[in-house]
């Protein structure tokens, strides 16, 4: 009994360290940037500074998780951004009305899950490419968000904004909860099945994974995460904006790819993706404090992203030689 548990934990470590390989470059770059940030702005280590920084990172981290879990399953979504907008719009329009704060949260969660599940059903059962379905979905969702709230507005209770995006690191704690949830999900057959179906759908099917059902679940969870990111954005800004989420689509893909998640499914890790989103976020602040002019920021951003992706590839190639 004891020996088995030891050997299985040894196996666990070995596998985890193998999964971290290739992410070393990214980890080094992220840590370097964080240290640089602390040096440039020591206030970040105070509770207020840390809270504000993590609040700005949090929605990107959530949508990156939403994107990465679909990419791990062999899919992709182009409707992450519009879903964030829709989540924000629903929160801002329902919380002031009959639904109240909790009703608003429930509405956002239900709609995120529902839209995700419907997208998943279309992709899995009609066997249409995810990229096309979610592209079409992004137009529809943007349209709905604009119909509900044609221009920025709505209402979020002040206490709710202060709770999520005040001077306490609540957002960071919620991120830890999300990561813990992902860890737990990965410990279930459904979680492993999601990976497996992304890597080798036929193999996964033959091993008894219900590939379609797993895909629908992946889309549903992804939709939920994106809508909750929208809820947070609404709390952070104190209102709803039907267009605020759009840039998240590309940024979530960038963060996931930066974190080593492949486009073909089954390759990559959630921790890598989250680190990728952290790098994208901390980069903005560091470059501000370095006083880079905006044009130089564009160039530097591009170089850092290429560097973080290229370094592990180059070291892996050298190792093979």
């Amino acid at each position: 009994m004891t020996t088995r548990s030891i050997s299985s934990s040894g196996l666990y470590r070995a596998i985890q360290s193998r999964r971290n390989r290739g992410l070393g470059g990214l980890y080094i770059v992220v840590v370097a940037f964080l240290l640089l940030y602390v040096w440039l702005f020591p206030g970040i280590v105070s509770i207020g500074g840390f809270s504000k920084f993590t609040q700005n990172w949090f929605p990107l981290a959530l949508v990156t998780m939403a994107q990465a879990l679909l990419m791990l399953n062999g899919g992709i979504t182009l409707s992450v951004g519009p879903l964030v907008s829709l989540g924000a719009v629903i929160a801002a329009t329902s919380m002031g009305g009959f639904a109240g704060t909790w009703g608003g949260i429930a509405a956002v969660a239900a709609i995120g899950l529902g839209i995700g599940a419907i997208t998943g059903i279309i992709v899995a059962h009609l066997r249409l490419p995810a990229i096309i379905v979610t592209l079409a979905g992004s137009f529809i969702i943007t349209g709905i968000a604009l119909l509900i709230l044609p221009r920025p507005g709505g209402f979020i209770p002040g206490w709710f904004s202060d709770l999520l995006a005040g001077n306490t690191p609540v957002a960071f704690c919620l991120l830890l909860v999300a990561i813990a949830g992902w860890k737990l999900f990965m410990a279930t057959p459904a979680g492993l099945g999601m990976y497996a179906a992304g890597e080798n759908p036929v193999g996964a099917f033959r091993s008894g994974v219900s590939v379609e059902r797993v895909k629908v679940a992946a889309f549903a969870i992804s939709g939920l995460l994106a809508a909750l990111a929208g809820l947070f954005v609404a709390a952070q800004t104190g209102s709803g904006d039907p267009l605020i989420g759009n840039p998240f689509t590309l940024n979530s893909i960038a963060a996931a790819v930066l974190g080593g998640v492949g486009f073909l499914g089954g390759k990559g890790t959630m921790r890598g993706a989250i680190c990728g989103s952290l790098l994208l976020s901390v980069m903005i602040n560091v470059m501000f404090f370095l006083g880079f002019p905006p044009v130089a920021q564009y160039v530097a951003q591009g170089l850092i992203i290429v560097g973080a992706v290229a370094i592990p590839e180059l070291t892996a190639q050298r190792r093979k030689k």
């Binding site: 500074g49 221009r151 920025p152 800004t237 209102s239 605020i244 998240f248 404090f289």
Partner: protein, 355 residues
């Protein structure tokens, strides 16, 4: 003398706060009444550091506006009023703009000049900055919150109304028109359109065939108008609510060999040149690029203890056949796809602040 007195007031207030709550309330009350401008506490000393939080730096209008900001900062550096200018570009992402403004608060800049990427999204972070005594001057695209030092803009609703009235006069109140708008969901484009509506309602003879929503760029506007020209053999006027849109429309009419119709627009160089070249009936107004320079000037005035009104409306000029030549005479000083804005100086700014 007076400024020095004002600057000591808040400190006095906090000193007394410990003594008694009632005394604090009283002194706090008079303190706010005496404080010159919103957000400004009087504890910041020249030379000031200014943060310019741009939402998007790529469009020509933005580049020209940024040009007036940097020029103004150079002027104010000479007089020792400004030390440094920090520029950020959120690349159209309101979320990034929040992050930039947060960083400006962290860097403890003295003033923030901002064009908002969303009318609501920046409210909380801007209120935070205001609480820290940072002078916030918001222009062009405005935020909702009133916790700013000043909001500076032209009247978008009046923009739309005046343009629509001109169109009614041109067509004698009867005819088929197309309305060209900026992007959907953007307050400026929404407000201009809303301003036009009462005029359209009062003149039912003016029939709106259809409307377009495009970015404020020539190419998409031209494309949209080209397909509308195929579908509509009879168009009597184009009520365009943005400068580059009008240029796109005029070019579409020209390419299709259609006769030009009365067209409204802005001081976009392309539109003004086409107006003259094609001899069309035109009308234009202007969202002055120097609103940027004016905002920096206003922020510095506020920080130095001057009284600044929370809302400053800059009058919209009218450009018609009588004065379009005076604008075109200076055309070569502006980029080919840019906006020919009117001259500005300190005297004009002082006049606008005093109004």
């Amino acid at each position: 003398m007076k400024t020095a007195f004002l600057k000591t007031m808040p400190r006095l207030g906090s000193l007394l706060a410990g003594v008694s709550a009632a005394a604090f309330l009283m002194v706090g009350g008079t303190g706010t009444a005496l404080a010159a401008a919103n957000c400004v506490k009087g504890d910041r000393k020249a030379p000031f550091t200014i943060g310019w939080a741009n939402i998007y730096s790529v469009p020509t209008w933005m580049k020209q506006t940024e040009g007036t900001i940097t020029a103004e900062v150079e002027e104010l550096k000479k007089t020792g009023q400004v030390k440094d200018l920090m520029i950020t570009d959120a690349q159209g992402n309101a979320q990034t703009q929040i992050q930039h403004i947060q960083s400006m608060i962290d860097a403890n800049v003295d003033a923030i000049v901002v064009i908002a990427g969303s009318s609501n999204a920046l409210d909380r972070v801007i209120a935070d900055a205001c609480d820290k005594g940072i002078a916030i001057v918001n222009f062009d695209s405005l935020v909702n919150t009133d916790k700013v030092t000043a909001k500076i803009n032209t009247d978008s609703s009046q923009w739309g109304a005046t343009a629509a009235k001109w169109m009614v006069d041109q067509l004698g109140g009867k005819g088929k028109i197309i309305i060209m708008n900026g992007p959907a969901g953007i307050s400026v484009s929404d407000d201009r359109r809303k301003g036009a509506q009462p005029v359209l309602d009062a003149n039912p003879g003016l029939q709106v065939i259809t409307e377009t929503n495009t970015d404020y760029n020539v190419a998409p506007a031209q494309e949209a108008m080209t397909s509308l020209l195929f579908a509509n053999p009879e168009i009597d006027g184009v009520l365009s609510l943005g400068g580059a849109l009008s240029a796109g429309s005029v070019m579409a009419f020209d390419r299709q060999g259609r006769e030009q119709v009365p067209t409204t627009g802005e001081n976009a160089r392309q539109f003004l040149e086409l107006w003259k070249e094609k001899g069309l009936k035109g009308w234009a107004t202007m969202q002055p690029n120097w609103l940027g320079a004016f905002s920096v000037y206003t922020a510095v005035q506020a920080l130095e203890g001057k009284d600044v009104k929370p809302k400053i409306t800059v009058p919209l000029p009218v450009i018609d056949d009588s004065n379009v030549d005076s604008y075109l005479a200076r055309a070569d000083k502006f980029p080919a796809d840019g906006y020919i804005y009117s001259d500005y100086d300190k005297a004009l700014f002082d006049k606008l602040l005093a109004q």
